[in-house]
Amino acid sequence: MRFRAKIVDLACLNHFSRVVNTIAKLARSCTLRLTASKLYFILSDKVANGGVSMWCELCQGNFFDEFQMEGVATEHNEIYLELVPENLSRALKTAQSAKTVKMKLTNKHCPCLRVAVELPSLSSSSRIVTHDIPVGVIPRRLWNDFREPSVPDFDVSIYLPVLKTMKSVVERMKNLSNSIVIEANLNGEMNLKIETDLVSVTTHFKDLGNPPWASEDGRPSSAPDRDLESMAEARVDIRKLQQLLAGQQVNPTKALCNIVSKRIVHFILLHEDVSLQYFIPALA
């Protein structure tokens, strides 16, 4: 099992750092899945996470100049590692002016992801900072726990409002309540509601637009005669929503959410070369 990768381009490095920073804000510990063409940051829906799950997919070619991996076996050419993304985030934080950043899987005393940052210096040789990030190798028999989640049978799918606006609204609501109701309809309307003994606050968003989803037979997948005004809603933990919104460092190209009434809210945030899916289950 081998893995080596190199980033030389500063813009790619910044972009990769931002992705890692976002992941670090969403999960204390997660799974990094490496294949020949892609990297995945996966958080599976365990009780410890409060039932949230995350699936983030990157095309390695968009970030790395060199990328070589050899999986556990030829017919299973993949590597699954458990790591703390905050460590990777910290390692990349001070690499913003680096000449190159190399990553390598090593096993000196224990399996580590070694990040070597080559920095410019006034001396003849560059300064090299190495960060040894301890990782756990996930055995193949557990790989099934980390399969890509399927898009749920949603009631409503809607584009999200400008994330910055949504974030500031949710941040203020967080001070008042522990849970928030997200409701939306197929008419491009979304409401964020909180209700406590003392106060109830609702923020209304209009004209958001609903993404067209094609099902297998070409017809829109949500129930065709669903009343456009009818709201699908789910009450979720407000902190989980706030975490998702606060972690976004760049405006996504597309941001939408699918609501399964009273069950789960599925967020999809798409950038040019990164896709992030985040599932927040509804509170009982």
């Binding site: 703390v84 390692a91 001396s123 040789s125 300064r127 900072v129 960060h131 040894d132 990030i133 301890p134």
Partner: protein, 358 residues
């Protein structure tokens, strides 16, 4: 200095005004000596020698906002009034405004760490910028860093991982600096020392701003590491205790070879032994003011004071050094003023530094 201790020790001498501080566990000491030439007017008064200490917070409060000070203050007058027990700081500002601050001071004993850079086996000199750039790769919360000398005159910095922390779960960061980044390197190959990063960072910030070259002197683990900045009108020393290698001889090596009366740590290394007791030596010649930089105390049998030992243990602030570690405390000289108290009571610091960078 405020990153080290809560009290500012002042001593005007012939060679200049000395400002010093020490931390509660006596494992970090710093002194700044401003030569008379630094000041527009420098006048020593009676009595001589005179030493006092003020609360760091009070002193810093006078100079609170540096940018606005630079714009409004024309002159600053520092006056010691022993009769009134007051340190007067007078800021002469624009538009005829004069702000006078009267700070209460306490007379105190000489605060001086015993160290001798000549006896340090290794030393190197570098622009502060190089070390500041190196230190930035370590997280702000990191307590200790290990500095090591590698092959070909390379110097390494690595974060120190305590044995209690799970080594398999902690990220290790290591940085190597090539020989030509330094102005001078004279180190013992393979040597290494571990010291607290917080105070060192404080010194680096100052060093970068003052543009003075930084020299680091160190010896074996357990012996203090000395950082010096040498300028025309300013001399700075920062002395930090270093981590004693628990695998080697447990006895703390004393300066000048005097007999150790320090309590040996028990076999259980996780015993709550915060720091070794400071050996208080008595100075026999009060007439000769010791040089603020290189006091050479003749070896005397150290007198361990069990009461003060207890106080030291309780007073140690978790920040520097952290719990369950043992650093060799620095050795401090004390001057017995005739008729004065034999030991100025060590103030118990139960509250952590408000400036909690660690």
């Amino acid at each position: 200095l405020s990153r080290i201790g809560d009290e500012l020790y002042l001593e005007p001498t012939d060679s200049g005004l000395s400002l010093r501080s020490v931390n509660s566990s006596r494992s970090a000491f710093a002194s700044f000596l401003f030569a008379p030439l630094f000041f527009q007017l420098y006048q020593l008064g009676e009595p001589q020698p005179f030493r006092c200490k003020v609360l760091m917070k009070s002193f810093l409060g006078v100079f609170r906002s540096l940018p606005s000070l630079e714009k409004t203050v024309g002159k600053c007058l520092i006056l010691l009034k022993p009769s009134a027990n007051r340190l007067v700081l007078q800021l002469h500002c624009k538009y005829g405004v004069t702000k006078t601050h009267n700070l209460a001071f306490q007379e105190c004993e000489l605060l001086q760490a015993v160290f001798d850079t000549q006896r340090c086996a290794s030393s190197f000199c570098a622009p502060a910028r190089v070390l500041a750039e190196a230190v930035v790769h370590f997280p702000q919360t990191l307590a200790e860093v290990t500095l090591g000398a590698g092959p070909e005159g390379k110097i390494s910095l690595r974060n120190y991982v305590e044995d209690e922390m799970e080594p398999k779960k902690t990220m290790v960061t290591e940085l190597w600096l090539a020989e030509d980044e330094f102005q001078r390197v004279a180190v013992t190959p393979g040597s290494s020392i571990t010291f607290c990063l917080k105070e060192f960072r404080g010194l680096l910030t100052f060093a970068e701003a003052s543009n003075l070259p930084l020299t680091i002197h160190y010896d074996v683990p357990g012996r203090p590491v000395v950082f010096t900045l040498d300028g025309a009108v300013l001399e700075v020393h920062l002395v930090l205790a270093t981590l004693l290698d628990p695998k080697s001889d447990l006895q703390c090596p004393m300066a000048n070879g005097s007999v150790s009366h320090l309590p040996l740590p028990s076999d259980d290394l996780t015993d709550d032994l915060e720091s070794y007791m400071v050996a208080m030596e008595t100075e026999e010649e009060p007439g000769v003011p010791p040089s603020p930089t290189f006091p050479l105390h003749t070896p005397e049998p150290a007198q361990s004071d069990p009461e003060e030992e207890e106080e030291e243990k309780e007073g140690a602030v978790p920040g520097t050094p952290p719990h369950k570690k043992f650093f060799c405390s620095l050795f401090f000289g004390s001057v017995l003023t005739p008729g004065g108290p034999s030991l100025a009571p060590t103030q118990e610091v139960l509250a952590e530094d408000s400036d909690n960078d660690c």
